[in-house]
């Protein structure tokens, strides 16, 4: 396997150039996929035979909950890379992804509560799936707070990386919570590895929404990372000339 791309990631300038080329594609894909998925899921997918139309919340709830967990795994991977290879970009990725992950966890919790009311008759129960998702939100808050509280960038990066890696134990707990404990929460309805538990015309719009939300995440993450790279590299020559070019200065 060719690893040059990995070593190039050590260069903020290279990342800045390549991400500038990718960002528009992710943005366009996100808008198209989310647009198609929304209309498909809300208007064309058949209603659930038990839950009726309230089940349509699934098309926002599940993709967002998926992303909330993948994003945390990304933090842990970035943290490990940062600790092992001292890659500056890893800390930038970690710091920039954490707020997005926190927002996604928040939406997963809120849409879940809104879905729970007509389905279970309650907004919230302290069961394993819901509680472990709440813990995920607090883990995100912890990482964000830690990153901002420590003034020294290297120490902050190390502390956040360790917290991200330790906290990743929560991810399998979230995933298997519906199997390990009795839960009000229904088991996984969306899976790529097994035959889906829902009919094709319900499952396809979900696939589109999941792909859309990942493209959205990629676009927003690159947007945030590019700004952070520019900030941290502001003293280097390439960043200076890039800032001048963006300002339209001669």
């Amino acid at each position: 396997m060719n690893w040059t791309w990995f070593h190039k990631l050590g260069s903020p300038k290279w990342f800045y150039e390549i991400s500038g080329r990718w960002l528009p594609w992710f943005a366009v894909a996100a808008v198209l996929l989310l647009g198609v998925g929304l209309v498909w899921g809300l208007a064309f997918a058949p209603p659930d035979y038990q839950q009726g139309n309230s089940f349509r919340i699934i098309y926002i709830h599940v993709p967002v909950a998926f992303l909330a967990q993948s994003c945390y795994v990304l933090l842990a991977v970035a943290g490990a890379i940062g600790l092992v290879w001292r890659m500056k970009l890893a800390d930038i990725a970690l710091q920039c992804a954490a707020p997005i992950g926190a927002w996604m966890t928040f939406v997963a919790l809120v849409t879940g509560a809104i879905w729970g009311k007509p389905t279970w008759g309650t907004w919230w129960v302290w069961d394993a799936r819901l509680t472990s998702m709440l813990i995920l939100l607090f883990l995100y808050f912890g990482i964000i707070a830690l990153g901002q509280a420590i003034a020294n960038r290297d120490s902050a990066a190390k502390a956040c990386a360790v917290l991200a890696i330790v906290g990743v134990v929560n991810i399998p707990i979230i995933k298997y919570s519906v199997e390990w404990w009795n839960s009000l929460h229904q088991p996984a309805t969306f899976t790529l590895t097994e035959k889906p538990a829902m009919p094709m015309e319900m499952w396809l719009p979900m696939l589109v929404m999941v792909l859309g939300i990942y493209c959205f995440f990629a676009a927003v993450l690159l947007l945030r990372m590019r700004l952070e790279v520019l900030r941290r590299e502001a003293r280097s020559n390439w960043a200076k000339s890039e800032i001048k070019a963006l300002l339209g200065a001669p």
């Binding site: 208007a43 064309f44 209603p47 139309n53 809104i114 947007l223 700004l227 300002l247």
Partner: protein, 58 residues
Amino acid sequence: MSFSSFAEFVAMGNHGLYVWSAYGIGLAVLVINVAGPLLARRRYLREEARRLRREESK
């Protein structure tokens, strides 16, 4: 199309309030996540422009 009229689509079989508030909150958060970094970028570039002007006038 699984609805026969627009009114039925809005009503979502008496679950309209739940479905639309979930999607409303979801979309609002997506918009916040796009607008935040864009505004931060604009603010940063404006600060840099001010700093460059100060340095030039020195």
